[in-house]
Amino acid sequence: MIKEGKALNALLEEIEWAMLESDISSAAVSDVLGLMRGSLIGSRLRKGANLAKVIEATIKRALQSILRADYWDFEATIEKYISEGDKPVIIMLVGVNGTGKTTTTAKIAYKLKNKGYTVVAAASDTFRAGAIEQLEAHMDRLEIKCISSQRGGDSAAIARDAISHAKAKGADVVLVDTAGRMQNKTNLMNELQKVHRVTNPHLVLFVGDALAGNDAVEQAAEFSRVLTFDGAVLSKMDTDAKGGAGLSIAHATGKPIVLVGTGQEYTDLHQFDPEWLLEQLFE
């Protein structure tokens, strides 16, 4: 019989530090521990049962429920919109500076083009040095139409032009790459809201860096509050990142991780698999 007391507290504390070491946010960890405490206390261990295994199973269930909330398949969702004639499917990528939005835009373009869809890209980062050149270079390589203007142009206007162009050509998908921005900058978040209003996207993807610690929560929560997003991309999972940031983002917003970036090549983008992340965390 598992009882409340010093032994259980010491045990839960060790588990707490282990979860924090995998970059799971303090908020998510404390929720999971609360669930664990609730489900463990008063429960009887079957004869010969291994407490460690019971604990691992309990944690896994709690993490699974966080990752599976509202989960959707990226390619299936695009397919559904297009088969229903709801096109061009407009996808907008958002997030703070340097998380991998532009590279993810290129990866998505590659993935969808390979499935036979026609894609148009909008270079809506009209602010950062070299941003337009970066996306144009990717789209040239992929032989995908990229709508852009001079640096300093209006980001919403570029997105709108890309959508008009896509409609005129009967294209299937429009990818709107936006500039990175810190979520605590009101004027930049207002600009993003404007792009969102003008483009009325089918899907908004928040691109989060797998390397991020607790700030992943702040970023995701604020982007979700100001814009709402449909799913997140967890980029740079091929690095030292444990991937806890994925749990932090899902826990903070109730929105699922749907895609994971595993490198700098166009092929390094996959549908996110919650089981895969859990295996990573537990090994």
């Binding site: 340097g98 070299g130 970066q134 390589r141 605590n184 610690g213 700030d215 690095t239 990142a241 806890g244």
Partner: protein
């Protein structure tokens, strides 16, 4: 914020002048939790709070100071100690190599540093864009330094980073400061590790700066250690502190490389660079 967390941790010992073991452990536990939220390395947090506990037990509290204030002072002193003494880079005779993970702010910081010394110290500065992997890198660096006196060397057509560096050094052998921007990389990418080693051997930079994003969490320590193994890091620059990230990971980078934080990145523009000040950094960390 962390300060609130710390004060609530310390409020458990408020008004007391002596702690018993249980109370001390309770305070330490809440303190560890608060530090964790600022992305302190889990192990470093444990050591720091254990040291704090030890000092709380053995140090004499000055009269008129609460246990709370005493603990806060010890913590502050420990953090300053962890950050180490400041270091100033003289504006002459420098060859600087910028390294770090993907998207941390290396290119932007290269431009900021070049502009800093060029404008504040009237130094003759040149930069080399040695990133041959990311499309638009040369345009990015060139645009950032438009309107400045800094020379920008690169070759968008080349796939040979070492060769670009060689040619750049030849062309700008007489500058006061030469800064080399490299591609983002990770120690698991063998090809990029070899490229960095080759560049590093050729350049023999006297400053090897690790650029790290303030949002990086528990990976900061291991990543900094791996870059230290590769190039022997001599300084750290923490970027994107104008966001909400606390930068606890930066302390792990300092510990792993044994080198000080030199500057901080406070925004996307070339002027958004500040000399590192431990007071400001710690109060923001504790904020």
């Amino acid at each position: 914020g962390l300060r609130k967390g710390i004060f609530s941790a310390l409020s458990k010992i408020k008004g007391k002048r002596k702690l018993d073991e249980d109370e001390l452990q309770d305070m330490i536990r809440s303190l560890r939790r608060a530090l964790q939220e600022a992305d302190f390395n889990v192990r470093q947090t444990k050591e720091l709070t254990e040291r704090l506990a030890m000092k709380m037990k053995e140090e004499e509290i000055r009269p008129g100071i609460t246990l709370q204030t005493h603990a806060m002072n010890i913590l502050y002193t420990e953090l300053v100690r962890l950050l180490g003494p400041p270091k100033e880079i003289p504006p002459r005779g420098q060859t600087i190599m910028m390294v770090g993970l993907y998207g941390q702010g290396k290119t932007t910081t290269t431009a900021k540093l070049a502009n800093w010394w060029s404008t504040k110290m009237q130094a003759n500065v040149a930069v080399i864009e040695a990133d041959v992997h990311r499309p638009g890198a040369f345009s990015q660096l060139s645009q950032l330094l438009e309107g400045t006196k800094v020379s920008v060397f690169g070759d968008p057509e080349s796939k040979d980073a070492v060769d670009i560096v060689r040619r750049g050094i030849e062309k700008h052998s007489n500058v006061d400061i030469l800064i080399i921007d490299t591609a983002g990389r990770h120690q698991l990418d063998e090809e990029l590790v070899v490229e960095l080693k080759d560049m590093s051997n050729l350049v023999n930079a006297n400053e090897r700066i690790l650029v790290i994003d303030a949002q990086v969490g528990q990976a900061a320590g291991p990543v900094a250690a791996s870059f230290n193994d590769l190039v022997d890091v001599t300084g750290v620059i923490v970027t994107k502190l104008d966001g909400t990230a606390r930068g606890g990971g930066a302390l792990s980078a300092v510990a792993a490389t044994g080198s000080p934080i030199l500057f901080t990145g406070e925004g996307e523009n070339v002027k958004d660079l500040e000399k590192f000040e431990s007071d400001r950094f710690i109060s923001r960390l504790l904020g």
